[in-house]
Symmetry: C2
Subunit: 311 residues, 2 copies
Amino acid sequence: MEQSFLAYLRGRTRSLPAVAVGIGDDAAVMDLPAGDAGIQQVACTDQIIDGVDFDSQSQPLASIGYKSIAINLSDIAAMGAAPTAALVTLALPADNATEIAGEVYEGILEACGQFGIAIAGGDLSTYDGPLAISVCLLGTVTDPWLRSGAAEGDVIFVTGSLGGSLLGRHLRPTPRVEFAKRLRQHAQVHAAIDVSDGFSLDLDRLLAASRVGAELDLECIPISDAAVKMSADSGRTPLQHAWSDGEDFELIFTVSESDAASIEKLSADELTVEITRVGTVVGRTGLWKRITGSKLERVFPQGYVHGETDA
Amino acid sequence: MEQSFLAYLRGRTRSLPAVAVGIGDDAAVMDLPAGDAGIQQVACTDQIIDGVDFDSQSQPLASIGYKSIAINLSDIAAMGAAPTAALVTLALPADNATEIAGEVYEGILEACGQFGIAIAGGDLSTYDGPLAISVCLLGTVTDPWLRSGAAEGDVIFVTGSLGGSLLGRHLRPTPRVEFAKRLRQHAQVHAAIDVSDGFSLDLDRLLAASRVGAELDLECIPISDAAVKMSADSGRTPLQHAWSDGEDFELIFTVSESDAASIEKLSADELTVEITRVGTVVGRTGLWKRITGSKLERVFPQGYVHGETDA
């Protein structure tokens, strides 16, 4: 229902006051009321539910709590923003509510401590249903990175390596908050998105928002060890895992060729993580695979399309 | 679990960055980064769940959507703040998810339109559980009204009339947003809280936060027509309903005696709603009933104590 409902909502919210960036990017961006030196506020929200987004039988509750913060931090990082405070809402199964809340909060507190964010408030309910965690994360930004800013000729980068997150990384992802902060010091990012539903699918969303396409060097896509490991049993290649697996929580971003050259000179230490040049933004829409000495071939995005919509 | 878990959380969040006003008031207050002319950001969140906070079998989904925004607006009003944007998260039963979302959003859009707030973002999930609506509401404030600011000698007021909300008013409450805006122009409010769990219970919370007590003129407490109607069948007096019924979403606030005299000269039209002087803040903690020509008598708060915690 995601896409059609979003379209309906966009139409229906037209008569309401608008924010600077509303439904359809990784996070919302709002102007601040006073003489603010260009600083804007960002806010995003993501909920995860037992049986849909995680499995409390096989995954530690503290890790799930950690993840509930981390996935929102990833959205904030994708805006090039700095997180400040979280509001945490829990819907708890009536049995063992206090014990569950305590364990979930262990992970929430760990993530908030690690990334220096406050817990500003929240809500707790007990009910006859599965554990659901909804986090609203606030932050600030100057000149946010939107999905829609990619321009023809831009170089496309991705952080880290991709695929196989389900083998474990997805529970303790590293949201690229510190990376985003450092990248801002070295380059003017034109567009960015985080990889939540699959590299190719999220790249396609960024390109669609920017009304452009991409020529990709598929052999350059950074493949994680976990993707290689998964491919042993899955009947799919490591590249297929990197191309379509969800929950990598890496960043895809585009910069000009000259900025690309600058940031490629930086070490992984300086940026906190490796970055890889995977292609170029082109005017023709769609994803295109570069094949040496021959024509371009169209490739198609693949990933996890779910009943959820990002802020 | 509410009170003990809140105490645990307050302890555990001490090592995290702090916000100006955190867990324990109607909404959180955060400083803005830049030269902001005293303007601060407020944020609150409240979730309502089918079978716990409402009944989708007997109540229209649009009204429930309206209510999900209104109860958060009431928290923002209780801070003396101006609402700006909402993030709306729905957990939808997998059957009929799109239809349910559409109906709920009718009421959400109506409330947002009426109060001039943007829908900045949100999240949608489908799952095997009851409809749950979680709203995070953002706003701005200068000099927020806290629960903790009541001072000895203050006059205690309440807006509107109290009790019997369950007969219908609770689904379409009028959050006192415009009232709060006008009150700011005429008085310096020392403390405020909204009546969500019962007049006496919420007043007691305000007093406890301020480490003071109150002498009340019980015969002055404004009783709604609905409270009178309910008392016909409930075996309780109209005053008992006004004293303890939840979901009135009126405001309790305290001001100095001189400000009290000023605002009592204003009409209900000028303030948008009647206000009633119900008592005085005293140094001795607890609620005390004034009996003409005799000693004070202690009275006890009553209301709805639930498994939820406000932001």
